[in-house]
Symmetry: C2
Subunit: 133 residues, 2 copies
């Protein structure tokens, strides 16, 4: 049950269960792709406050509930931790509709970095065309 899961997500991190947060997490849970501020605002209603929404996105990101993806000057957010935390997935960016999807990362990669450089995480961005375009 989705509602219980959302309560759990918030409670575990000591985050208060507000109307906006519940709506926001509900939306993230059913989203099929990463969402920009404008997409979220469009979905949750125009009366949602800009600062409150941005602050919650930051809060959720810091709490590891969602992760941010930079996409040509506009941040997009998707459910789940980022790749900084051991969870491995790649981002697919459609060059037609500019939609960003999280996809599973399979297959090994090796990159030689210059001497003195220490690799921590390897992110992948796949550019191409999505199934709707």
């Amino acid at each position: 049950m989705k509602h219980a899961m959302i309560d759990d997500l918030l409670q575990k991190r000591g985050l208060k269960r507000t109307k906006l947060r519940i709506a926001l997490l509900n939306h993230f849970l059913s989203a099929k792709h990463a969402l920009s501020y404008l997409e979220i605002k469009g979905a949750l209603g125009e009366n949602v406050d800009k600062s409150t929404l941005y602050r919650n996105l930051t809060t959720f990101e810091e709490a590891g509930i969602i992760h941010r993806i930079d996409h040509s000057g506009v941040a997009k957010y998707a459910f789940g931790k980022g790749q900084n935390d051991g969870h491995h997935h790649a981002h697919f960016v459609c060059d037609q509709c500019e939609t960003v999807y999280c996809v599973e990362k399979t297959g090994a990669t090796t990159i030689n970095v210059p001497k003195g450089f220490k690799t921590k995480v390897v992110q992948m961005i796949i550019r191409g065309t999505c199934s709707y375009c």
Copy 2:
């Protein structure tokens, strides 16, 4: 000789040889990492016009002389074509100083994308610590 190379770069694309463009390309040629608008402005002098600089960055990018890398809301530029054009390199982002370096990409990768999705280019971003941090 650097000057001749710069003239060549501009001439081949029918771009006029202006003072700013020459200074800009000189700076890019000796840069060891990707540069933001502010870094470039700082290097070329405060009297450089914002629009002119931004317009030249766009022009150079479209001409395939430099390529843009998005980095948490700030665009950075580096010499060379992007990975959309067959040239393969990855970007190393230092999590201490936030500097972006272009590094050679070695080793094969395979990513399974969902049905109906078509992969064109695979970009890689390596996060870690650079040799100066």
